[in-house]
């Protein structure tokens, strides 16, 4: 393996890709679309106002009433006054059907007119990130408006965010590693299967066979490209998950091994599938047969732990499961030992498939 040849081939891959607007659009925009789509559908954000339980400890001062009616006027929230004990507020919220709450503290009006900092408390629901995010946004908007009126923008009213209940991880938190896994699987699988079959049909492999470029070098340059795509996609998904839905995931170096071994596995598998097939049509078929079960049953869109027992067992034979589970261990549970185990499985598999792909794919097939 000569780095200079890998680099030269990588340049061709990158240029071909960047000059293909459709491919570019899909790899940059698609991750955001996926996050937004699944985040919205399954986090249950609707257009109707979100009920919010409000405890006003400022004795219904004029300023607090103004604040709440401004909040009501946003149409994002529907205020429901409650008269609960403050120390039990969180617990009572947890038993309520609509567990999002707001507490206006005692002295709110006095502090506000004296231009002293004061915090309202928003209790958000970890199981409903979308609604929680919407309510937080509305309260923040009204606070900003009040701050602007009183002091030209410096922060007087701030928000203190707390969580209701004990469940820490929400759907969106699981969705991020799942969808990163989804793109680690799909973007190399679909295009490598196609590349393998069409380059052979068009005679490009025979053309390359007449140069010193080796098959291992060729496959490596493609792996490097999809690894790069994976890093960018993961960045976009984490970024949009956090910004759009307030996802709370750990982004650590522990993620890196999966963003390397995952693409290595699926670039090689795509090449292998494309090589054993005789025609582009059968290549696409083989690719789909391999890809589709993994696409849905490896914890991509829903955590595997929510599956029925039989399906959970099936998930454990899917390579993508170990990629996604490993990223869950890193990003959610901070379980390094289990992540290392998952990584071992993925890496070993990737090496085996890489070697098989190089054995089976021939440049100069007649």
């Amino acid at each position: 393996m000569r780095p200079a040849r890998i680099l030269a081939d990588l340049k061709i891959v990158v240029r071909s890709y960047l000059r293909n607007p459709v491919a570019l659009f899909f790899s940059l925009i698609f991750p955001i679309v996926l996050i937004a789509l699944f985040g919205l559908i399954f986090s249950g954000a609707g257009n109707s106002p979100i009920p919010v339980q409000v405890l006003n400890l400022d004795h219904n001062s004029g300023t607090s009433q103004e604040f709440l009616s401004a909040l009501n006027a946003t149409n994002v929230v529907k205020i429901q006054f409650v008269d609960w004990n403050e120390s039990k507020f969180a617990a009572l919220l947890g038993q309520n059907d609509d567990p999002i709450g707001l507490v206006i503290p005692n002295g709110f009006a006095a502090n506000y007119s004296a231009r002293q900092p004061v915090a309202v408390t928003v209790y958000t629901d970890p199981e409903d990130a979308a609604d929680s995010g919407a309510v937080l946004g509305a309260v923040q908007g009204v606070s900003n408006y009040f701050n602007l009126n009183a002091s030209g923008g410096s922060e007087i009213v701030s928000i203190d965010q707390r969580y209701v209940g004990s469940q820490v991880f929400t759907y969106i938190d699981y969705l991020i590693p799942g969808l990163i896994g989804f793109s680690i699987l799909t973007s190399p699988m679909f295009s490598m299967v196609d590349v393998a079959a069409s380059y052979r049909k068009e005679g490009i492999f025979r053309q390359l066979s007449l140069t010193p470029l080796t098959r291992a070098e060729w496959l490596t340059s493609h792996f490097l490209w999809y690894m790069g795509i994976t890093f960018v996609t993961a960045g976009i998904m984490i970024g949009s998950g956090v910004v759009l839905f307030g996802a709370r995931v750990h982004v650590t170096l522990g993620l890196v091994p999966f963003l390397i071994a995952g693409p290595l596995f699926f670039v090689s598998l795509g090449m292998l599938a494309g090589s054993v097939a005789k025609t582009p049509e059968s290549a696409a078929l083989i690719g789909n047969i391999i890809t589709f079960p993994m696409m849905f049953l490896s914890g991509t869109f829903f955590p595997v732990s929510d599956f029925p027992a039989g399906l959970q067992g099936f998930a454990h034979i899917l390579p993508l499961y170990y990629v996604i589970d490993g990223m869950n261990q890193v990003m959610l549970f901070s379980n390094a030992a289990r992540a290392a185990l998952d990584f071992g499985v993925v890496l070993a598999g990737a090496i085996v498939v890489f070697v098989l792909a190089i054995r089976f794919f021939t440049w100069r097939g007649e």
Binding site: R5, L7, S16, S209, L210, T211, L213
Partner: protein, 310 residues
């Protein structure tokens, strides 16, 4: 001088079909050798076996002393290839393609010089999928030259090109020879073989039916030189019993085949003595094209067997 290519009793079968059927020939280093044959003759099959892209069913093949199939990597560093119907990455420009090949071969050719050499400078920055057929073929030629090859294999490099592009490619092929490279050229254009090749092999149905320099092939397979008169068939009737030469009449023309150049004088005296009026006369000689058309036709009729395998 050593032989660039040596082929002995080469056979390539696809099922029952012998695409190449016991073919033998030698290409001397530094010469242009042309495989001339109609579509389906077995040209591509032969050339791709020489390039190490296909495996021979039987027979012995050597290029630069190497076995093309088992020693392909070593061979590919020293030869340049333009396949029939050359294709490349669609979004890549000729300049990038040459730089790419340069990096792969570890040679550093000057892209601009190579592009100028194949007259493609003005398309240096156009993507491959926007090039015309002739421009694509020129890029193929430039790529085949990036590694300073000892043999160039050109499989029908000018098929389907306009006359200007064809001439440009011919110029490059001539320059390859003048630089001492060997060239293996397949074509179904007679003119091309006649103009460029030192030696020509006519191939049909996987067999070589004639081989040599164009004059040698004409001498071996052409009809003798002829005297042709514009005259009535009566002239033929007069000459036939008197000359002992083959005489034919058709379309207001009478042709006499000459056994030796000196026969011409005897024929002319006999014509003068005949008293039959004639308008003009000329000498007629077979071209490579006449030979080609006749040999291919005879082989299709089954009246011709392939030449011995030497």
């Amino acid at each position: 001088m050593a032989d660039a290519i040596e082929v002995r009793h080469l056979v390539k079968r696809y099922g029952n079909l012998a695409a190449v059927d016991d073919v033998s020939f030698t290409v001397r280093a530094g010469t242009v050798f042309s495989f001339l044959g109609p579509n389906g003759a077995g040209k591509t099959t032969t050339v791709e076996i020489l390039e190490g892209l296909r495996r021979a069913t039987s027979g012995e093949v050597r290029a630069l002393g190497l076995d093309p199939w088992t020693e392909a990597a070593a061979l590919h560093r020293r030869v340049g290839v333009i396949p029939q119907d050359f294709r490349f990455f669609e979004k890549i420009t000729p300049r990038e393609a040459i730089e790419y090949y340069g990096s792969l071969f570890g040679h550093r050719p000057h892209p601009d010089e190579l592009l100028a050499r194949v007259q493609l400078e003005d398309k240096a920055h156009s993507r491959f999928d926007t090039l015309s057929g002739g421009q694509k073929q020129k890029l193929g030629l430039a790529l085949a030259l990036t590694n300073d090859p000892e043999i160039c294999f050109l499989d029908e490099p000018t098929t389907g090109l306009d006359p200007t592009a064809r001439r440009a490619i011919w110029d490059v092929i001539r320059s390859l020879k003048s630089e001492g490279r060997s060239v293996f050229l397949t074509t179904h254009y007679l003119e091309e073989a006649e103009l460029l090749a030192d030696r020509v092999a006519i191939i049909h149905h996987g067999r070589i039916i004639a081989e040599g320099t164009p004059p040698e092939i004409i001498a071996a397979h052409g009809r003798p030189e002829r005297l042709r008169f514009a005259a009535a068939p009566a002239l033929a009737d007069y000459l036939r019993p008197r000359l002992g030469l083959a005489v034919s009449a058709a379309d207001g023309r009478v042709e006499v085949e000459l056994g030796a150049p000196s026969d011409a004088l005897r024929v002319l005296s006999a014509v003068a003595a005949s008293g039959v009026p004639w308008a003009s006369f000329a000498t007629a000689q077979d071209t490579l094209e006449d030979v080609f058309v006749r040999l291919v036709g005879q082989m299709d009729d089954g009246t011709l067997k392939a030449e011995g395998t030497t």
